[in-house]
Structure formats: structure tokens, C-alpha cells
Amino acid sequence: MALDSRVPKGPIKDKWTDYKNKIDLVNPANKRHIDIIVVGTGLAGGSAAATLAELGYNVKAFAYQDSPRRAHSIAAQGGINAAKNYQGDGDSTYRLFYDTVKGGDYRSREANVYRLAEVSTNIIDQCVAQGVPFARDYGGLLDNRSFGGVLVSRTFYAKGQTGQQLLLGAYSAMNRQIARGKIEMFNRHEMLDVVKVDGKARGIIARNLITGEIERHSAHAVVVATGGYGNVYFLSTNAMGSNVTAAWKIHKKGAYFANPCYTQIHPTCIPRSGDYQSKLTLMSESLRNDGRIWVPKSLDDVKAIREGRKKPTDLSEDERDYYLERRYPAFGNLVPRDVASRAAKERCDAGYGVNATGEAVYLDFAAAIERYGREQAKIHNIENASDAKIYELGQKIVEAKYGNLFQMYEKIVDQNPYKTPMMIYPAVHYTMGGVWVDYNLMTTVPGLYCIGEANFSDHGANRLGASALMQGLADGYFVLPYTIGDYLSDDIRTGKISTDTEEFEEAEKEVKAKIDFFVTNKGTKSVDYFHKKLGKIMWDKCGMSRNEKGLKEAMVEIKAIREEFWKEVSVPGTANEMNPELEKAGRVADFLELGELFAKDALTRNESCGGHFREESAEESGPQKGEAKRNDKDYAFVSAWEYKGEPADAVLHKEQLEFKDIELKQRSYK
């Protein structure tokens, strides 16, 4: 099947408006005869469910947690971008569009990104009307902060808990519709397959996670909003339950999976401390505004620090290597996420990691504390302030800016970051790849939609800070509710979809067979054993930098683990009860397939772009030596994979990317 992105004709700034004007609609009286299933209740799914219900559709929403409010969007810290230009610093829809496309290293679809920038301002209006308590200045107007990789201040925030407040906003909108009976909410339910009737998505099979019951649910359209697949690495900043299952199941039923290898590895996370570690904790990117990143210059000092003979504060300025400032004098500590992550890995691989695992670098606030302290001393007219006084004054400022992050760090690591530098290391954070969708956010299966992090469309090969929240809410509040009408307008006479059909029967049988296998297979190894093994291969061979040899090995090794998994996995308990190990087994089974496709995709893309760094594609000489080298001639396309059985047999379809409104440039942060 040829890919049709269905991007409307016309100038980019008019596309969305013109398209909305011409799109087919479903009249209000007919909407109440149409059912829509929304899987996932984070920013994308929650906002979509609420809006579709407001429009009059009957919505069934599903979440594996005990409440929609617990979806992992809740953990987003920094903020949400919008081209409001409240600061008057030259922001505009075009500039937000440009920054997003450039930040994504020219691997996203222009028309989708422009639309995203266009509706971004609506999101802020909407959220304020819903009672989201964004930060304000003393005049009572909304405050902004700035984020990595851009030249304007356009990020709206609610302390360090922006994701929480936006999700609770969407959750409240959902609650209003649940109370009206327009959303039927299924908490503690997991989607285990999609059901197609006559080629169209017409329902799902879900498992009630309390009773273990397998349920059939039908609808005229199905929306998958189940987030990213970062947990394929076992360790990531995702929630423990975050998984690829819904996205993978629809892939197996015909939805193409796009750019699986595009993963964002966030530079400022708390390093791993041991093998028991279950997840990694992110520290907001905003810390890099004031923190300086370094490792010791000499390996002797590294050794002394690891053995506890020296403290980082014992090292003089001359003995420190501020490697980002050294390598990237123009952007310094504020280079984009992918660049900062790779630079940390480079130092640690060379043996300069500062903790026992050898995978940590310092993020030092001493200089910022001193700078703020001197400034405060001046403001308060304190002459000849002592070093201690300056430190005290400066610490107060840093505390006001990052207090909650410092506290979180201290709780986890048991070190006081005001006194000794923080230790950080990159961790898997976000996946730009996902299910392929057209301009309507519909997958290659008619009636099956995919929104939020679960789809691929807006961030290209690298996502800018504070853009994930923007995309989730844009898709759910302002894009999908329009575009889905175009499809559903053909369904006004269809009537209720029966679940009592062969298609549902078949899908249910398949799901049950798999569950039965897990609970009866008396293997010798736990689910986590396989997940950890997969994670290690992903991290070592499909991590921050990749090469042909490693990727080929990864494909072979992942396949071998998968085969062992299906022989040796052990799942205690039964199918008809709450059984967290059984839930995990199903999710890891899907990760074991996705992992191989991921490696295959990375292998196929023999260029470096955004978060995907291929060692074979680096600048060989000149001032950019060693930096990522993009290849627009051969790789300016979206890789959309069609399922053909084994992941290794997946067939590649290319969506050629055209850039009519932006000139392609090499990113330089030197």
C-alpha cells in the first residue's frame, strides 16, 4: 500500500484553516449514535476523550491505572510551549514551527508541525479557562521561562509540575463528561488487541486487571493514545507500567510503525546506583541554565574520587574539564539534549565517569551560587560580604529556582547538592518514533487513530523541551476531534457494532490463548530477567550511538532472547485474578518484538540525525569534526514499517519529506 499523508494543498499557513472549512462533519443528532473507543488517558487520550464526549459522541475510555489522573503525562516537569508572544520577544507561529522542525533535525512532516504551532495558543487559553494554575507574575499575567535550543521565552509552566497540572485539567474535563454519562470510564483495564471488521477498526479486546476477565468492546472508531515505548530499554524515565502493547498490537493488525529508532536520551537524569535499579529519575533540563557540567581532567583524580580519597570540591578549576564549554563555546552547557547526552557518554567511555559504575558526570552549581550571591549582596548594599555570606545569599536564589529538584536529588542520592556537585547521566526519556499517521492522525488502518507520543509525526528525530505536552493536548483537544468527523460522517447509518461476530470471537480467542500459555508455561525465569537482558542490549547497541556491527548483533541477540522467553518464562498465579506478573509478561513479549524492529530501523538509517547517531555518519574534518552528519539526499524520509510476521521481515515504506517553507541546514552549536 502506498503511503498517502493526505496533507492538504495550499500555502502552509492556510492549510489547516481551509481544510477545517471543507471537512465533512457529523451533525449533532447523529453524533449520539456513534461510539468511539479511546485507549490511554494521558494528555492526548484524556483531552481527546473529553472533547469527543463534549461534541456528543459516546466515548469509552480505557486506562491500566486506577484513575485517568495517573497516566505518565503527570510526571512532565518543565513546561508547555505556545507561540503567544506575551513576552514580546519576537515569537510567532512561524518561529515555533521553525524551531520545532529544526530541533527535529528536519525529519518531521512540515504541515503537521505548522498546525501544531498554530493551535498551541489555544491550548493555553483553554487550560486557563479550565482552572490550570499556571505561574504568574506580580501583575497577575502569565509568566514564561525559556528552554533549550530556542531564542525566545515561550514556555508556560506550573512550578516543576506542569504535566501534572495539565493532566489534571484534562482529567477534570473528563470527569465532567463521566458524570454526564458521555464517557464510560474503564479503569484498570488493558487493551490487548484491536478488532477489525471489513478492514476497519471496530473495537478492542481488553482485560479487566482486577478480575482477569477478557472483554469485547465495539465502536465506530478506535483511538490509541498509549504513550511511548522507552521501557524497551528496561531502565528509562517512563513509569513502570508504560508499554508498547497497544501500539504494537495495532501494528500487527496493519498499522505501519514509523521511525522506531528515534529515541530521546535526556542528559540530566540521576545516575544508576546498582543492578536492582527499577527506573531512572529525570531532573528538569532547566538545571542546565545554571549548572556547569564537568569531569576531572586527570584519570588519577577520577580514581581518587571513585575510591573516596578525594572529593569533587577538592579539585581546582584547572583540574576540571568543563567539556561542553570546551567543545561548544557558543552554546556551552545549553546545547540540545542529544548533543549533551553524547558528550557525557564520550567522557565516561573514555574512563572519566565519577561514580562507582563509571557512568556519571558532575553538574555543578557552585559558580551560579556565587554569581547570584554577589548580585544579591549588591542589591542589599552589603559591602565586603564574606564568602560565607555570599554563599548563603546565592543559595537562597538557587533554592527558589530549583528547590524541589534539589530536594528530590537529596532524597534519592543522600548528598546535598548545595554543598557538593550533583551527579548526572543520560537516560532514555521519550520516543519520537511511533505509529505512522496521516494528516488526520489516522493510521494505515481505516478508523484507527493514534495520537500523542504514541504516534510519530511532529518531533522528527529529536524533540525540543516543553513540546511533548503541547503535542499531546493539540492532538487531543484541537486536531483529532475535527479530523475524526471526516471519517465518521460515513458511519451515521451504520448503527451499533455487534461484538457477537466472528472477528471479535477470533481476536478474543487469540488473546486468551496467549494468556493461557503464560500461566501454564512452567518456565524457570522471571519476566524481569528477560526484560533486563533486552534492556542491556538496547542500551549497549541501540543507545546514544550506534554502528552497523552492533545493530546487526542486536537483531540476532534480541531474537535469541525472544525465543528463550517463549520457552522459559515463568508467570505465577492464574489468569482470573489480579496478576501483575502476567501483565508484565504480555508487555515484555511485545517489547521483545519491537526491539528487533528498532534495531532494524536504526540499521537501515545510515545517517546521523537528531537522537539517532550513526558512528559511520560523522563529520570527518573541519570545525565540526566528530559531530553528527545528516544525509538529506538519501534519508529525508519517514521509515514506515509494515508487519510481515517476524520483525526482521518487516517491509519498509518511505514517506518522502518535502520542505517547502524551511531551508535545510546542518545544526551547529559550536
Partner: protein
């Protein structure tokens, strides 16, 4: 460290539960409490026993899913954190740790340490929202200035993660801190004024219907709240309710 764990085991909501003893060894002080539970569960799975069911998800203190009652305290002995942020350095080698589910009549046990908190959902559905459609045709976000003080206070109330520690801690199993936080958030913002009277009355009525107890101003909820939600929110809810009733 080596530890003895006394854990509440209960097959399902109808079964009779009991405390069961387990031993775990070589626990690192740097582990989080839930990672210690992972070690126990891995041990149980490997010996063919059923692991302990417990709720958890984000493991960074924000989703509100984790919910253990550890040595008689919701989220354990540390302050200002959830169970997933509790670290084993708070305990000593040789300790015996008692782990129970959050207990309240309105939070029935589903299995082991997992409880049903959907009563909270129904309270939110009764009025925890502003009735504005998500059409995007709302007025500009800056058209109504809101004093920084009010916005900050609304934000402090809005940081509630809905974990239920306040209920589990309260001797009356009262949910007033939880409900008060939501009522306060909207009471402090101009957008919430239009429906203020209906909101507080409906939410309080639902709270009573769910079987949560009353508030007797002990203040334990505020102490155990992982997000430091202030008791002032209960006072504000009472004031709002009074205003709504005598109107």
C-alpha cells in the same frame, strides 16, 4: 541489610487476609522501598510463589499510585514523600518492617496491598471541574489577571496527587484534605467562581455518601501528606460550604 517483612496478604476482596512474614537479605541502603519489594517479589517468583501485589507506577512521587502503610505510617517514616521515594537508608539492619494497605471503609482491599480508591473518582466527578467546553474558543489567557498570591496558593492546593494518605492516616478516615484541596484550587481562581456553590455542595455530599468520616482537626493528614497540602484547605472548604448553604 537483612530485614524481616510482615506483609498483609489477601487473595481478593472477599478473602480473609493475614500478615505473613518474609525475609530479605543483602538490601542496599540506596534502594528505594519499592525496589526492596521488587527484590522480594523476584525471590517469590523464582521459588514459584505468588508475588505481593502492590500499586505503583511513576516511581518518582507524582502519579499517586503507590499506597503502602509502613510501620504504622502512610508512605512510611520519612516526610514529604511517597512510598516510591522512601529509601532503605531510613531503616537499619535487622529491622522488622510492617507493611499494610491503606485502610479505610471507603478503600476496600482488592488484593494484598492494592486498594480500591474509586471513591475519590466519584467525588471528583461530582464537581471537581469547571464547566467549560474544550472548543478553543475561550477568551485570551491573559484577559483576566489573577494575583500571583492567589495563583500560587491555588497551585499549592492543586499539587494533591490523590494518593489517599490523608484518609489512611486519619483516625476518622476523613477525605476532607483531598476534597478541600480541589475545592480550594477553584475557589481561589476567578474561573471557578461561577459554579462555586454547587461544586462544594455536590463534592461534600458525594464524600459523605462514600462513607468517609468527618474531620476533627487532628491534623495528621497534613503531616503525612506527601505534597504538604495545608490544613487551611479544609478551613476554606468549610467556609465555602457555609457560604453556599446560607445563600
Amino acid at each position: 541489610m537483612n530485614l524481616t517483612l510482615k506483609i498483609w496478604r489477601q487473595k481478593d476482596s472477599n478473602a480473609k487476609g493475614q500478615m505473613v512474614d518474609y525475609k530479605v537479605t543483602e538490601i542496599s541502603e540506596h534502594m528505594s522501598f519499592l525496589e526492596m519489594m521488587d527484590v522480594l517479589n523476584e525471590q517469590l517468583v523464582n521459588s514459584g510463589e505468588e508475588p505481593v501485589a502492590f500499586d505503583h507506577d511513576c516511581r518518582e512521587g507524582i502519579c499517586g499510585m503507590c499506597s503502602m502503610y509502613i510501620n504504622g505510617e502512610a508512605h512510611g517514616p520519612d516526610r514529604g514523600i511517597t512510598t516510591c521515594q522512601l529509601h532503605m537508608r531510613m531503616f537499619n539492619d535487622g529491622d522488622t518492617i510492617t507493611i499494610e494497605p491503606f485502610r479505610a471503609a471507603a478503600f476496600p482491599v482488592i488484593k494484598d496491598l492494592v486498594v480500591d480508591r474509586t471513591a475519590f473518582e466519584r467525588i471528583q466527578q461530582a464537581g471537581g471541574y469547571i464547566s467549560v467546553n474544550t472548543s478553543g474558543n475561550t477568551q485570551d489567557a491573559n484577559s483576566i489577571p489573577i494575583s500571583k498570591h492567589d495563583a500560587d496558593e491555588a497551585m499549592d492546593a492543586a499539587t494533591c496527587i490523590g494518593c489517599g494518605a490523608c484518609v489512611a492516616t486519619c483516625k476518622n478516615s476523613s477525605a476532607m484534605l483531598f476534597v478541600g484541596a480541589k475545592v480550594s484550587q477553584y475557589a481561589l481562581l476567578p474561573q471557578g467562581q461561577v459554579e462555586a456553590a454547587d461544586r462544594v455542595q455536590n463534592m461534600v455530599a458525594q464524600m459523605d455518601l462514600e462513607g468517609f468520616g468527618n474531620c476533627t482537626n487532628t491534623g495528621a493528614c497534613e503531616v503525612e501528606c506527601p505534597k504538604g497540602i495545608s490544613l487551611d484547605n479544609i478551613a476554606r472548604m468549610n467556609r465555602e460550604l457555609m457560604k453556599a448553604t446560607i445563600k
